[in-house]
Symmetry: D2
């Protein structure tokens, strides 16, 4: 087993040097555990410069936890969460939401996005004693298919949610990629667009570990410290999470990392767009490229570069780029693809 280069996932990347440096520098002496330290105090203020003053902020270890616990804070035991059928919370958490009693109400996506006309029929469940009561709409930004909701699209979903006494939750594991894709500030696609709860991803954008949960509807945050603890996510040496977020949010590092990743995905897609044998599906708006490949060349490529066969039935592969993807690797990969196709003809 050797660690291969590749396009398997943005969590195959390491830690951005400036974030690593921040970790090392904070390793001085003692600090109170569980967030009662000066580093955590400081980063709270930095978050406010990005998301506005009216937020409540919590850190957890992993993205699964950010989503599940954030959602749990918004529902009572008889209330459910509307999401797309391909939502990460529905397909990739091995039942973690259900462990917390969260019933998911999946609806069909279009280009990775949820659509209000698919949610509307669920409203007939409201007040019906046999039905779980829809209480949250959860969207993923950027979506699992690498597409990006516009500010207007989010606003419409938020308005719909609020009009029907529901909350809007955003799984922002790749929100940085979405924000730079749209060219907007983080606040514009969250607080300003009507999001109530946000999972703000760090790990996929250059951190070692650590995700944030932000509540724009602060009434939901009231007991969240206890939920984090019960969720087995209350980090003891929290300063090492806090300083990572500080480094990520300082001097636009979050933006630069995401811009680079997006640019590399765009480059890869552009390089391949004229090859007839390859079909790029889904618009490349963030840091993911989905392509349908000739069956024969997939194993040839995987010998040199790591990536996942997304859907074995349609021969769709997923290529992800990250802050540390090298342009030269994209070029090499492109050439390998071209050669493989030519050889296989």
């Amino acid at each position: 087993m050797k660690n291969k280069k590749g396009f398997a996932s943005d969590n195959y990347a390491g830690v951005h040097p400036r974030i690593m440096e921040a970790i090392v520098q904070s390793n001085v002496g003692e600090a109170p555990a569980y967030g009662n330290d000066i580093y955590t105090q400081k980063v709270r203020e930095i978050f406010k410069t990005h998301f506005g003053k009216n937020i409540d902020l919590f850190f957890v270890c992993l993205g699964t936890a950010a989503n599940v616990l954030g959602l749990k804070a918004a529902v009572k035991c008889h209330q459910g969460v509307v999401c797309t059928d391909i939502a990460h919370i529905n397909t990739d958490e091995c039942g973690a939401p259900e462990r917390w009693g969260l019933k998911l109400l999946p609806v069909p996506h279009k280009n990775g996005k949820i659509r209000i006309e698919e949610i509307e029929p669920l409203l007939s469940m409201k007040g019906r004693i046999h039905s779980i009561q829809p209480k949250v709409i959860s969207i993923t930004q950027a979506t699992e298919l690498g597409t990006v909701y516009s500010v207007k699209e989010i606003r419409e979903i938020a308005d719909f949610a609020h009009a029907h006494d529901m909350y809007l939750h955003m799984d922002g594991a790749r929100i940085a990629n979405a924000a730079v894709s749209l060219g907007v500030a983080l606040k514009e696609i969250t607080h300003d667009a009507g999001v109530d709860i946000l999972s703000f991803g760090g790990t996929k954008n250059g951190m070692m570990y650590g995700e944030a949960v932000l509540f724009f509807d602060r009434t939901l945050a009231q007991d969240f410290n206890y939920i984090v603890k019960q969720g087995m996510q209350l980090v003891s040496k929290m300063r090492f999470v806090s300083v990572q977020f500080e480094a990520l949010l300082k001097d636009d590092l979050w933006k630069k990392n995401a811009q680079h990743a997006n640019k590399m995905a765009k480059l890869l897609a552009d390089n391949l767009k004229d090859i007839l044998e390859i079909n790029i599906i889904n618009k490349v708006e963030a840091n993911t490229v989905f392509a349908v490949l000739p069956k024969k060349i997939i194993p040839i490529l995987q010998k040199e570069f790591s990536f996942y066969l997304w859907d074995p039935w349609t021969l769709t592969v997923r290529w992800m780029t990250s802050f540390d993807t090298n342009e030269s690797d994209v070029v090499k990969f492109t050439q390998l693809i071209e050669n493989s196709i030519n050889n296989s003809l």
Copy 2:
């Protein structure tokens, strides 16, 4: 708010320099996520040199998770866990075990330890349909009171457990402190003594984050990867946990760290043992000192050094030492105590 020095907890400490160095050095290029990397592969072998070849090993973020998920692997939904009334899993996890449906069956402790004669009456629950079925005995090593089970004591509990079709689980958040206190190898107080499941603590002994779950009864490990994922503990960039454990287990660092912490606790206790106004309770066998203090001096001391009032009813305080406790701080603290007492007379 300033980060004060003190004796509040061994998780107020930072990261040992050799562990931090290992983290920095592993930050090179890509590595497959979720443990499929060469670092994790390597550390598995290192664990085997300490615990024997017949183990299954998993990493999680936090100690709460190591305990709860390890226990979950051993019980069906109608089975329960016997522990002491002061067990960390009973008092300090904010209901995390119950979130997983684990019913705890607390029995009175003696000096922090569980006693077989307290467990025996619970055997009458076996086969009774209205009763949760006792299936695991969980002990903490070193205990929550800083005492240490001898190898013989563990063996007896393990034999009792196995004789009654139960498992023995060990919360080893501070197992290193226990091992050096007894002067034995890690394998002697775990595998060799009959332990079936072990939470092996890293964070309290110099790591940044990360705990290990070891199964000596490997039938219990079969589905554990899924449980870790559902438990929201499957670390994506796992190499950074693995290299920490590698550094901790290499060149006896785990042992040196624990020895130093224990020595500092001993020193503190010894320094105070002749002060009439102070009553050291519980034998100081690991890195914790419990003392009953005159009420007046507690706030005076807390102005300079952080520590917890363990029991407000009896005026008992808890002082914990760690790998980075300075001998000079112990001396200063001792002098402050002496002066405070003299001034308050």
Copy 3:
């Protein structure tokens, strides 16, 4: 509020006189609680004459519990249940399965039935750590749309399940209606067709309360008594459930009740089949008729007869018949429909 006659549900009916008589006659003196009585002992033998000797049998109060607990017995916490999107367990249990950590994996139905080609893609989840592991296929017989699986269809699903290390669960709330529709014995569409776990419904076929859970794969029954208790379903005065089942299974009462209900549904459908303005959808194979009606006449009909508007978007209504539906009521209802349509033209 007045109790209206109608076609709302087969649980609007009362108790069949012979079942009521059995209840009254068993109310003599004391009987051990929780099933340790002679009545329960006896009914176990009667069940064996219908389902074969190799069964384990348990009683619960309600159908929701029969399904959820029966499924729970078959899955570990990381395993899930495949069912149709309109399965009662998915749409009508208000999150009871998720309360037990059961992740449902809904697939599109066809005429109310599950199809193997919809299940096959889920097999790619097997062994993938991020995915819940499919372990049970749950079908409803008769289906939620009043259609009936043939013995061959069940056999094929069972074979598929077993070939992929899964169990077959049958929600048999209306299994009697299905059996008489097919003209087969209960054993033929359960044990003989490869069903592993059966919810055998009593309430909808003339009982007051009480459902049975049968395990044909008896390894699954091992701890089920405890699960029933934890599921808050262990009836104390169980004799009154047992004698109901005895009466239901004796002298073919279960069959006669179901035959009558099915006949009434058929009659209703036949009476309406020539009315152009009414569209009977779904084949009427059991005791349910689904029809699309002109919007105007629905409230007119509901003034006289109770029934549910099944789908407000398509104006589909559901009419259910039961053992105590009067033929004269069917005739009156038919006439009212005809008149309403004529008047509204």
Copy 4:
């Protein structure tokens, strides 16, 4: 196996004839399911004459469910329930509370009762992030030891609970026995004494099945219908539960049944009080007698009369009486005891 007479439990009894008659008489025609029937409408009013107008009322199948669901309505996921160590919810529900994430906080009892001085230390958990947050005090009336809280005792516990932002829950499986023991109305020991949630038992006082949950703090009842459904307790043919409660509450039947049961327990205890070899422990205030017997005679008695050996370590047995205990059986049992003792001397 033969159904023996005896003193095993008040749920070995059958159904009171007047309750059975009410069931039979309500079996006329159709009635809407799930409580939307005229019988249920009517019994709501009858409950108000006993408990006051400001109540919310729900029915469930079993007492376990009444307790667990009633408690669930009062706690968020990070809040816990204080009860005695011998509380039925702690020892006899096979983990049903924990299935719902309820962490129980057992404290030592005195004569079966909870004491405020045992609860007070738990207040230090309030606001501590690692601790479950105590939110409900649950008491059992009459207690598991057959003793009865006075109105004043309940009032004091309620005041303590409310002063510390907690609710008072009463497990009233045998509240009728307590009320007649005290000679007070049901409202006096519930609503008037400060109880917020009540499980009102029917089965142990002459019903076939069915328990009620009453909320005096009506804010807790808001979502309870959904919780009942999720709890798999929403009875479809609910009229048959409602008419039982109607019969029980009409013409003081609840009182007469309980008075008789209590009288029989008193008679049994009085008959035995002069026998030196028998030690009646706990005051006989309701329908339970606890006695320590000579070891030899226990199996002799159990050959003729059913009862439980409560505590094998102390040779304590429990004898329960019910509405249908015959005075002649008490006399026969007394004589058998006397004879057995004389013979064994």
